[in-house]
């Protein structure tokens, strides 16, 4: 099945490993992710200001691209666009929801982009985890030639796929979607009570130390519960939890570094896919020694 796919900036740069692994597992499941032509910035941060409609132009323009793909018959899933990055998902879905609920806003935005065809507010924005759940974790289990036996993983959710509640894909207080998925793949899932606590987000730009403390808190508690690795589906969370371990180690010399996976990387490992799709060279903490120790890769 062909589905429209919106990548976003990070997926082409620091989170290329997220994209390669996602495309590979989707293909394995019979899904072809067709990238939007001429996609632009997702808008990055959803603007809550009532009259700040200009901020919603970018996300809506991307949805117009999806509309065009449907009209041109380029994709088979005729109402949805797939995202990987939590932030892109959140921004696109919320802007979409805003214009779906408010026809006046939709009209103004359409008028602003008078050179584009009008957006009809019929597209739905989904995140990869939702699609995988829809396919069925039992199907994923059947594909797992290389089950993640003995691997103790703590899923980390962040905020963007959970909140606000009207766009979230799972219970914001006690999400389980990653747990259900990883258990189907044979992993031992550790429930980290800090799985939804803030990673520090953009504070990472000008307040590295604060973010390092937050990362230490999240990773430390996961380790306390017995976790050997973290999974996430947000490039910013991944950056803060993975790359900031450098600063964590500086402040806490006894800290044991731990790998942070995009969940798609672990699915690719469980599917026994080609090493090249994993993209482990982009992970700051090298996950290969752990996976080798567990006999999951050669």
């Amino acid at each position: 099945m062909k589905i429209a796919y919106y990548p976003g900036c990070t997926l082409k740069t620091t989170a290329k490993n997220f994209e390669t692994s996602a495309i590979a597992i989707a293909r394995e499941l019979g899904i072809e992710m067709v990238e939007l032509p001429r996609w632009t910035c997702c808008g990055t941060v959803f603007s809550l200001t009532a009259d700040d409609l200009i901020h919603h132009v970018a996300p809506i323009r991307n949805l117009i691209r999806v509309q065009e793909m449907i009209e041109n018959g380029q994709i088979e899933d005729e109402k949805r666009v797939l995202t990987l990055c939590s932030m892109c998902f959140n921004t696109l879905k919320r802007s979409n929801l805003r214009v779906k609920e408010n026809t006046e806003d939709l009209k103004k935005i359409n008028d602003l982009m008078y050179r584009e065809k009008d957006y009809r507010a019929e597209i739905e924005v989904i995140q990869l985890l939702e699609l995988l759940k829809e396919i069925g974790f039992d199907k994923l289990k059947a594909k797992a030639k290389n089950p993640l036996k003995n691997l103790r993983v703590a899923p980390y959710y962040g905020c963007m796929i959970l909140r606000p509640i009207e766009v979230g894909i799972d219970d914001p207080e006690d999400p389980t979607i990653q747990k259900d998925l990883l258990e189907a793949l044979g992993a031992e899932v550790i429930d980290n009570p800090y799985k939804k606590v803030c990673c520090g987000s953009y504070q990472t730009v000008n307040n590295k130390e604060k973010v390092a403390e937050l990362a230490y808190n999240i990773l430390g508690h996961a380790q306390q519960e017995g976790a050997e690795a973290i999974t996430t589906c947000c490039p910013l969370c991944a950056f803060n939890l993975d790359t900031r371990q450098k600063e964590v180690l500086k402040n806490h010399p006894d800290f044991q570094q731990m790998p942070v996976f995009y969940i798609t990387q672990l699915i690719a490992v469980a599917f026994g896919l080609d090493n090249k799709t994993f993209g482990f060279n982009q992970n700051y903490v090298d996950p290969k020694p752990l996976l080798k120790k567990k006999g999951l890769i050669k």
Partner: protein, 650 residues
């Protein structure tokens, strides 16, 4: 025919929106109308006196009052018209407040137009009104009180003392309800058990009260003055008249299970005394956990029971009795905090509910310590209340004050403790409550305004870290506590929801039982002769519960005391010539008021006019027009429709 029309200003409620003069002028032009007047308050004594005088002076046949909803003052004006010698059923109300001036506040022109239409409809109906006769029906002095918490106990005692026969039904083996679990009561800090136990003891001592514990209502059918009740008395396996509560049976019983009375914090045996002040003061055998019953494998308790009170062969007993009125006092249950996942109730033994803490404090006062309470204690308010995420929008009303009580009890017991209460709003609304809250502050309890965002237990130390924004100082607080107490809200008990179905009572949002009128009929329901009190009606504290229970008893006495009651003549009746006996009416009747009978070889519908509530369902359903309803006859409704549609009415 002479019709008088009165237009009420309702002290501005109507006259600020509707142009009264134009409505009056319009009414004057209607046929049969001989008198049109206005008044600032038609419901006032002076206006009603004017109405009586006008009816006599002008020989009015019919009266139309354009004012509020008949739900509000219908009875008032019916009484006034009756005083002037007319039938109360020749008075019509045109509702130009709730249905006109209030919803159309911002469109006065439209409101005035609509008021005219409403008045014209009422005049059209009044023309065809016929005087109806009130009937009476005999009534006895028997009451069923469902639930024997403090509400049911109080209602039963009031009724029993007034000489009425009471069946007090309680599903648990002891009476006392939730209050029996509490430590002290706010704001006076009386020991809850000490003030409750004399009342509990009064119940079996009252000759008019038949106490049925361990008993559940199976069905209730019938109507005011004739409710047939079927109840099932579950086997207790212990003869309450023989049991001396010596505790020998429990000593030898090998089965240990969590004790409900202590919220599962302590344990009990399979044969046990429900609580230390239980009434009846007798042990009970829990047949779900007893090893001995099926098959008889263990008889240790039987062997040691000197008075021979234990009987393994007891069977459930079905009880049938008839009562005249019913009081529902089925109470509440606490909100299950596991539904509020962010507070991780089940994950840490150091996160407990306020009811758990009530038990810990009560037991400590009795010399038993189940667990250390610690030095740093935090209360989290509004758990399961004022929270749309868990589906409860309402305020549970008691949590602010019980937290104020529990926190200062802890602080006073050990002044070295740090006790915090995290709240959204502190609602100290009752008599003496504000003073009590101030006292807690003076005691040293720290009240911080902020909804707690996160709780995390440190697996090594078992201490709980709490994260909250102090919304008064905008500081983020992250602090470690030995004990976190969740001030859980209230939910209608499963018994309340079940009895609502059995008696077809209306529920308000949240599932609480709906009163007939929030201000003027706060303990009545729309089912005649059924009253509600206590937390079944909505969350409330003990003083309010007791007041409502006494009120419900008084309202029941009011109905029964005269030995007969008036039956509203607004009921359905059958034109037997037209009736084919198809039975559709009987099927749609929500009150089981209609039966199909054989009359001279012909099947006809018969309406029991005592049971009929005049809802009109059968009239609408009848395919042949044989069912009619007094005061809402088909020609009357047609006349109103014609008036509404602007046609000339003959």
């Amino acid at each position: 025919m002479k019709i008088g029309v009165y237009v009420c200003h309702c002290g501005g409620n109507i006259s600020e929106v509707v142009d009264i003069k134009r409505v009056m002028k319009f009414a004057e032009q209607q046929g049969d109308v001989v008198l049109v007047k206005e008044h600032a308050h038609m419901c006032s004594d002076v206006a009603r006196k004017m109405l009586v005088d006008d009816i006599k002076e002008h020989n009015l046949d019919k009266v139309v009052i354009a004012a509020c909803s008949p739900q509000f003052h219908g009875r008032t004006f019916m009484g006034t018209v009756e005083k002037a010698g007319l039938s109360p059923y020749v008075m019509e109300m045109a509702n130009i407040r709730e249905q006109c001036s209030w919803p159309h506040y911002y469109e006065p022109e439209y409101a005035t137009k609509k008021a005219k239409d409403i008045v014209r409809m009422a005049i059209a109906k009044a023309r065809l009104d016929e005087p109806l006769e009130k009937k009476t029906s005999p009534i006895g002095k028997r009451v069923l009180v469902i639930g024997a918490g403090i509400a049911g106990i109080q209602a039963a005692l009031d009724l029993g003392d007034a000489g009425f026969k009471v069946y007090l039904v309680e599903k648990e083996p002891s009476i006392g309800g939730k209050m029996v679990k509490l430590s002290r009561t706010f704001p006076t800090e009386d020991c809850a058990a000490c003030i409750l136990s004399p009342k509990m003891a009064d119940v079996p001592a009252n000759p008019n009260i038949e106490l049925l514990t361990n008993t559940e209502i199976e069905s209730i059918s019938g109507f005011l003055g004739n409710y047939d009740v079927v109840a099932v008395k579950k086997p207790r396996y212990v003869d309450t008249s023989k049991c001396t509560a010596c505790d020998k049976c429990a000593e030898v019983c090998p089965v240990v299970v969590p004790n409900e009375h202590d919220e599962g914090l302590s344990s009990r045996k399979a044969i046990y005394l429900p609580n230390p002040i239980a009434v009846p003061h007798s042990y009970v055998l829990d047949d779900k956990t007893c090893l001995g019953l099926f098959p008889l494998a263990c008889s240790k308790c039987y062997d040691v029971c000197d008075p021979g009170a234990i009987n393994y062969d007891q069977k459930p007993e079905r009880l049938n009795f008839t009562v005249d009125t019913i009081i529902v006092a089925t109470g509440y249950e606490i909100f299950d905090p596991r539904k509020k996942k962010v507070y991780e109730f089940a994950r840490s033994k150091n996160i407990i509910t306020a009811l758990d803490l009530e038990r810990l404090i009560s037991l400590e006062a009795e010399g038993t310590s189940l667990r250390p309470i610690g030095k740093r204690i935090a209360f989290i308010q509004c758990v399961g209340s004022r929270d749309e995420l868990v589906g409860n929008e309402y305020c549970s009303r008691i949590c602010c004050m019980y937290a104020t009580k529990l926190s200062q009890l802890l602080k006073r017991a050990d002044p070295k403790r740090d006790v915090y209460v995290f709240y959204i709003d502190l609602r100290a609304y009752g008599k003496g409550f504000e003073e009590y809250y101030k006292r807690a502050q003076r005691t040293g309890v720290k009240f911080i305004r902020g909804r707690v965002a996160e709780l995390h237990e440190d697996k090594r130390t078992n201490k709980v870290t709490l994260k909250v924004e102090d919304t008064l100082t905008r500081d983020i607080i992250e602090s470690e506590f030995d004990l976190v107490v969740l001030s859980v809200g209230l939910r209608p008990s499963p018994g309340t929801l079940k009895i609502a179905d059995t008696l077809r009572l209306i529920k308000s949002p949240g599932g609480w039982l709906q009163e007939a009128h929030p201000k003027f009929r706060p303990v009545d329901t729309l089912a005649d002769g059924v009253f509600i009190c206590g937390c079944a009606q909505g969350p409330k504290d003990i003083p309010d519960t007791v007041a409502q229970a006494s009120a419900a008893a008084a309202r029941a006495i009011r109905l029964m005391n005269k030995g007969e009651f008036e039956v509203d003549p607004i009921t359905a009746f059958v034109d037997e010539e037209l009736c084919s006996g198809c039975g559709i009416c009987a099927g749609v009747c929500p009150y089981d008021a209609i039966t199909i009978e054989l009359k001279q070889g012909k099947r006809v519908s018969r309406v029991n006019e005592v049971v009929c509530q005049g809802c009109g369902a059968c009239v609408a359903a009848c395919p042949s027009g044989a069912q009619q309803q007094r005061w809402f006859m088909t020609p009357q409704l047609h006349a109103m429709l014609s008036a509404a549609l602007g046609e000339e009415v003959s």
